[in-house]
């Protein structure tokens, strides 16, 4: 039996030869991964719901501890990054590999893949930075994963107004808050790193074409999913 290397192309057709899902493997794989991520967040968010439902006392009032305006800004950043991601996707589908280009008759320049993906990366990095700042401030005030730190400002406030600050369940509040938002932040960080990698290895060398931009679509799916999780988290953690 001889194996000729020229048969390789034949030998490894890039995609299925059976109907399958009708989508290429990377995208299918990403969707399966997202399904699995749904279960991961189910474990975290589900535990939060269960713990909060069965908690021995009232949770702290929304806004009592967490800085909602700051997080609102963060939510805005993430939504913006999501739309810029999808704009990047649309740009490369239309073959716009460039950064910015003048369009006759329009005041604003037209953004290409390089522009929109950069915006996404900046917004994503901004989100992570704001979250880090938020964590530092919260821990500084005395809000830790174990509850309100003894002797901190927050512990004093909570002792004065136990209802507003949900003193009895502070431990649960800290635990679930930091775990959920922390793992979301971890997901965002992973996404930003992957996008940076793609940006330098694939986007800047203009390796994507309207015929094949699988990387952008796949990372886009991940990114929107992270956004989607945040939308849920923002509501149930910060607003309720």
């Amino acid at each position: 039996m001889t194996h000729a290397t020229q048969a390789l192309d034949q030998m490894r057709p890039p995609y299925s030869t059976e109907p399958g899902s009708g989508v290429y493997s990377n995208k299918l794989g990403m969707w399966v991964f997202l399904a699995s991520d749904v279960m991961f967040f189910t474990a975290l968010i589900g535990s939060y719901i269960v713990l909060r439902f069965g908690a021995p006392g009232e949770w702290a009032r929304p806004g009592a501890i967490l800085n909602v305006p700051l997080t609102g800004l963060n939510t805005f950043l993430l939504i913006c990054s999501s739309v810029s991601m999808v704009k990047a996707y649309a740009a490369i589908a239309d073959g716009k590999k460039y950064f910015l280009r003048k369009v006759p008759g329009k005041r604003l320049q037209d953004g290409g893949l390089k522009f929109w993906l950069l915006i996404t990366i900046i917004c994503g990095a901004g989100f992570v930075s704001v979250q880090v700042v938020e964590y530092i401030k919260l821990v500084g005030h005395g809000f830790t994963p174990a509850g309100y730190r003894e002797g901190s400002l927050l512990a004093e406030h909570a002792a004065a107004d136990p209802i507003k600050y949900g003193l009895t369940v502070a431990g649960l509040y800290g635990s679930s808050f930091f775990t959920m938002t922390g793992f979301h932040g971890f997901h965002v960080t992973c996404g930003v790193i992957s996008m940076l990698y793609l940006y330098f290895t694939k986007v800047l060398p203009e390796k994507y074409s309207p015929q094949d931009y699988r990387g952008i679509e796949v990372i886009g799916l991940y990114w929107h999913f992270v956004d989607l999780v945040w939308i849920i988290l923002f509501t149930i953690v910060y607003l309720i």
Binding site: S21, F33, S36, V50
Partner: protein, 588 residues
């Protein structure tokens, strides 16, 4: 991916280095073999732990032979300490479930068989596949490392019920518990990566003509298992992370003192854990189906219902987890619900058993070693399944819950089930992996001795469990009602040692045949699967050209086959037409 095709005959002209080819390989077959060696090693570790458990239960307080080499924190004057005993049972479970049976079934055979059996050239994501193996190995090493840290490995059972697992001051374990959690998170990532690879491969990479209902049952089972893995493992990861944070960051998820819920950890664990049980048995069922059809020289009986039974078991697997918690103080109404769904699992399981028997009915049975082990699987799995009914019926579960009866049950399912299937599968696909046959004579001897000692070891556990012996107790003789049963415990221990000793035969057969085994013919078992159209071992990339599939996988003794009694999927008869390849999916 750059991949270069080769055959064993051209292997020494191979440009790829040893490292590239065997260590950092992206070839699904090599990765499967890597998994095989690593998980057989962990199987040995788990077995050694089991032997120590057996010693302690049979001869409590007597010095363990050779126990002197163990450090003073585990064994003093040769006597196993209670905390070490608890660690033994915890780590035996952990190693066997997570690092032996699961990788043996899924890591080895999903990797090895799926592309070969569906006519694919490799996995959909070969590099992710490699990452999956290395993460699994890393997880295994982290878990092993916990034996060497202060206070040793976990002491809360492989299930790690909180608050025992969440509070170092109560369990006495600090670093070991963290390592367990970290290892499980890494292993979960490995499993998710592996599983999404299997799912994508099965969906997208089937050869032309390999329609869904022409897939062998082994592939079906591995596919459904992968779905379970993708959805179940992340829940375990979440639970392990919360446990880790409870230990390290001082969070209070499972700490009732601060409002956490102890039962939440059990719910999360078993929500993962029950699908995990099916991860550990479905692939075995699938591979046994293939082997029984081959050994009976008959098409599998009721192929479609077999497929739907697999899907049914997998679906029911998500709504029965509460049966592990009947005594936990949960809502009795939930108990009733879980009881009914649990009992219903008997239905697809019965379908499978009866269909295997139907396959053998009026067959022309060839008793090669895989077939013997497969028959052993069917008979032992039946006992394991039937003993499950006792515990599924909630009132009867009350005296049996957390006794040796459940230990007997799980070993009938996992050892009598999964492990017999694995002995069958290893022997059956050994020629495909290494190009040589395992010794038939040793294989048969190993099967019969294993079958005997296995039953002698685990069947009496039902009886001592009925007598009320709790599981995981260090010394049953301190209870008056357990004292009369001690002779049976001694009997079990002797049988267990014999059972372990018999496995040396298997190890010898496995290792000896690597070099000295008989050269395998291309299709040693006269099988129909796509993999037998390739030389043994198959080259990287498998097929030169994507093969065509002409029929279902079980056309044994088909009238069209003429004087042969098998008709492989890849053989084109004059009446067959080539399948039309589907259009490629768009790349955006």
């Amino acid at each position: 991916m750059t991949a270069v095709a080769h055959t064993p005959t051209t292997a020494h002209h191979e440009p790829m280095s040893f490292w590239r080819k065997y260590i950092f390989s992206t070839d699904h077959k090599i990765i499967g073999i890597q998994f095989l060696f690593v998980s057989l090693f962990f199987l040995l570790v788990g077995g050694l732990l089991a032997m120590q458990i057996g010693w302690q239960l049979g001869f409590p307080g007597k010095p363990l032979p050779g126990g002197g080499i163990l450090p003073e924190t585990m064994v003093v004057n040769g006597v196993i300490l209670p905390e070490y005993y608890v660690q033994l049972v915890s780590m035996h479970g952990t190693f066997m479930v997570f690092f032996a049976i699961m990788p043996l079934l899924v890591g080895v055979y999903a990797n090895f068989l799926i592309p070969l059996k569906i006519g694919a050239h490799d996995m959909a994501f070969p590099r992710i596949n490699m990452a999956s193996f290395w993460l699994a190995l890393l997880a295994g090493l982290i878990m092993t490392a916990s034996f060497f840290v202060p206070n040793g490995p976990i002491r809360s059972g492989w299930t790690n019920y909180a608050p025992l697992a969440a509070r170092p001051d109560l369990s006495g374990v600090t670093v070991g518990q963290m390592l367990w959690c970290v290892s499980i998170v890494v292993l979960g990532l490995s499993s998710v990566l592996g599983s999404l690879n299997y799912i994508t491969t099965v969906i997208n990479h089937r050869a032309p003509g390999m329609t869904w209902f022409r897939m062998p049952l082994s592939v079906w089972a591995l596919f459904i298992t992968a779905i379970l893995g993708v959805l179940a493992l992340p829940v375990l990861q979440g639970a392990a992370i919360m446990l880790l944070f409870d230990n390290v960051l001082g969070t209070h998820f499972f700490d009732p003192v601060a409002g956490g819920q102890a039962l939440l950890s059990q719910h999360l664990f078993w929500f993962f854990g029950h699908p995990e049980v099916y991860i550990l048995i479905l692939p075995a069922m699938g591979m046994v189906s293939d082997i029984i059809a081959n050994g009976s020289r008959k098409p599998i009986f009721g192929y479609h219902s077999m497929v739907f039974a697999i899907i049914g078991i997998a679906f029911l697997g998500w709504i029965v987890w509460g049966h592990h918690m009947f005594m936990s103080g949960m809502n009795p109404t939930l108990g009733s619900t879980f009881m009914v769904s649990t009992l219903l699992i008997a239905v697809p399981s019965a379908i499978k058993v009866f269909n295997w028997m139907g396959t053998m009915w009026r067959g022309n049975l060839r008793f090669h070693v895989p077939m013997l082990n497969a028959i052993g699987f069917v008979s032992m799995f039946t006992i394991g399944g039937l003993s499950g009914i006792f515990m599924a019926a909630t009132p009867v579960d009350i005296p049996l819950h957390d006794t040796q009866f459940i230990v007997a049950h799980i070993h009938y399912v996992l050892f009598g089930g999964s492990l017999f299937a694995l002995f069958a599968a290893i022997t059956y696909w050994y020629p495909k992996m290494f190009g040589r046959m395992m010794s038939e004579r040793i294989g048969k001897l190993h099967f019969f001795l294993t079958f005997i000692f296995y039953n002698m070891t685990f069947f009496p556990m039902h009886i001592i469990g009925m007598g009320g012996q709790m599981r995981r107790i260090y010394d049953p003789t301190i209870y008056d009602f357990l004292k009369p049963q001690q002779p049976l415990n001694v009997f079990i221990s002797y049988s267990a040692f014999a059972l372990f000793a018999v496995q040396i035969l298997f190890a010898f057969n496995f290792l000896w045949s690597l070099k000295r085994g008989k050269k395998a013919p291309q299709n040693p078992w006269d099988d129909n699967g796509m993999e037998w159209s390739l030389p043994n071992p198959a080259p990287h990339g498998n097929w030169e050209r994507t093969p065509n599939v002409y029929r279902g996988p079980y056309e044994f003794s088909a009238p069209e086959a003429g004087d042969k009694d098998f008709l492989p999927q890849f053989v084109k008869l004059p009446t067959d037409r080539d399948p039309v390849p589907a259009p490629l999916p768009a790349t955006h």
